[in-house]
């Protein structure tokens, strides 16, 4: 009896130790499917973050003014704020949402990635800070050769 009790206890502990990891991982593709289907940045942002007021000028987007290869446009996101969720949108492709980054804690907002842009358009970053406020930044990127294949 004791052994059985011990074993079942072990199973509970194992389940509990697995749980926090799965809880902290938010797959926005699953939790906010609408955001990934939205055609415009405005709709996608509303689906992910709601329509609360956003603060400008605290996030820096590092992108080329003129991108020669639309298949891989380097985008950098930098900020001194403590941001937990950072989403990247653009208006050059059939759907707007590109990627949503999350940094639970100890994150330093200095990110880089490469995106597809089939035409000249605005790139928008919207982020949620640890303070619960929303921050945003927009930059226009000119693309000379589209790379989406679309």
């Amino acid at each position: 009896m004791k052994r059985r009790k011990f074993l079942s206890l072990g199973a509970v502990v194992a389940a509990a130790s697995v749980l926090p990891a799965s809880l902290s991982a938010t797959d926005f593709v699953v939790t906010a499917p609408k955001a990934w289907e939205a055609a415009t940045s405005k709709e996608a942002i509303e689906a992910l973050f709601g329509s609360a007021a956003m603060i400008d000028g605290q996030i820096e987007i590092k992108a080329p003014k003129l991108a020669e290869n639309g298949g891989a446009v380097p985008i950098g996101i930098k900020s001194k704020l403590e941001l937990t969720t950072i989403a990247l949108f653009q208006d050059a492709n059939p759907r707007s949402a590109v990627v949503v980054f999350e940094m639970p804690e100890n994150g330093v907002v200095d990110l880089q990635t490469k995106i597809k842009m089939r035409k000249t358009a605005n790139v928008t970053v919207v982020a949620k800070g640890k303070d619960g406020k929303l921050y945003s930044a927009v930059q226009k990127v000119e693309v000379s050769i589209g790379g989406c294949g679309g």
Partner: protein, 97 residues
């Protein structure tokens, strides 16, 4: 998957190169290939999530990421897990230098 993780003072810089065609539905229809793109990437150090990304098909082919975080030591192992639209998973590991 290629991972480089370098510690500078208290910040770890990770450069990550994944392998995926990143084909969305529009591109798949045009090129007559299957939809295939990575949907989620997680980075963990010592079992703790330090960075994650929910990704769509408008990242470039073979997506590249660079990110930074604090709190790791040299010698710690960073584990990257990815899953794609077909449910295929991949795991990569690297030691922080």
């Amino acid at each position: 998957m290629k991972i480089k993780a370098k510690l500078e003072k208290d910040t770890t810089e990770v450069k990550l190169l994944l392998t995926s065609p990143m084909v969305g539905k529009e591109e798949a229809a045009l090129k007559k290939v299957e939809v295939e793109f990575i949907t989620h990437v997680t980075a963990k150090v010592n079992g703790k999530v330090v960075w994650e990304a929910s990704t769509g098909p408008f990242l470039s082919k073979d997506p590249y990421f660079m990110f930074n975080f604090k709190g790791a030591k040299a010698g710690d192992e960073i584990v990257i897990d990815t899953i794609d639209s077909k449910g295929k998973t991949e795991t990569g590991k690297a030691v922080i230098k």
